[in-house]
Symmetry: C2
Subunit: 196 residues, 2 copies
């Protein structure tokens, strides 16, 4: 049924806006590029966070001995949430890259795809932004400590661990910005299809 009303829509569009086709093709390429970038950023953030491990000799409070203690991402529930969210974003990134490529090759269903892209992008943005916020909030406490509640700094001892965590959060922030741009691009692409 969709294939029968498609020629009508295409003919209406070509009558009303003859310049729409080449421009839409440009948007699609940007879509593919941004979505692949989202995939790459999410995977990078996950890998950098997972490889954040550091063992240091730290003194035991109240005793005159020191023991080796390992800092790893799984010590904090916020970092676990971060990894889950960014893994989902990576999977979403590669799947929608393939979908965006399919639009470039076969533009007939572009509008419907764009709608679903926009709706799903918004959901993913909520998940990735909150995960970045949660990891960032906890990492900031690790960096600066909080004297009011006697939470000590961690990053003066586990410097490499904190570098990994910080880089991972920065890349995730970039992924969030990409998702904002992708949603805006999808919305704008849909908006442009309304005949003026």
């Amino acid at each position: 049924m969709a294939s029968t009303d498609k020629p009508d829509r295409e003919s209406i569009k070509s009558e009303e806006a003859p310049a729409a086709h080449p421009r839409r093709s440009n948007y699609s390429s940007v879509h593919v590029a941004l979505r692949f970038l989202l995939f790459a950023a999410s995977v990078t953030a996950v890998v950098v966070m997972v490889t954040a491990k550091q063992t240091e000799i730290v003194p035991v409070p109240g005793l005159p001995i020191s023991v080796p203690l390992e800092a790893k991402f799984s010590d904090s529930p916020a970092f676990l949430y971060f990894i889950s969210a960014l893994s989902v974003a990576g999977l979403y990134g590669i799947l929608t890259t393939l979908a965006a490529i399919s639009i470039v090759l076969k533009p007939a269903y572009a509008t419907r795809f764009l709608l679903h892209f926009a709706l799903l992008d918004v959901l993913m943005l909520g998940i990735v932004a909150s995960a970045t916020g949660a990891a960032g909030g906890v990492a900031y406490v690790g960096l600066k400590g909080n004297s009011h509640v006697r939470w000590g700094k961690v990053c003066n001892v586990y410097d490499k661990f904190c570098q990994h965590v910080g880089s991972s959060i920065a890349v995730a922030l970039f992924a969030s910005v990409l998702l904002v741009l992708l949603t805006m691009l999808s919305v704008f692409s849909i908006y442009r299809k309304i005949p003026k």
Copy 2:
């Protein structure tokens, strides 16, 4: 210039989709309601967080004395970010409520308004979701502590403070969900204006 090509668009739409007008009016009412709800939720979250203050007598570590110590939202940078973000969301909520009401009264510019709503909603979602995540991450450490880095629990002492913080974060999460719904609604409203 916008007013000259507006009658054309209206006439095209009424020929192609005679049932579009009453339905769009329904969407606008939902828009107004959801945006007012966003304003109310944001203001509630800010007020509940700002009023989260509790003074308790706590022992000083290493000394045989106890002193009164006040827990307040400004002790944590994550909570300050939370309050800034939700205040902006509240302001945005009331401004866009007024804009959505203006659309109900004068639907001529509805499409352009919807585009700007969708683009701005996405930005606000990123800000509110990350703020909720940051406050939630820090509050979770306060609730459960983290034995790996010797961050003690706070909520067993400052119970009322934590109740306020928890409620505020729950309301902010609701505001984030509202923003997701609002963006989806704007996108879908724009999509529906494409002639089938």
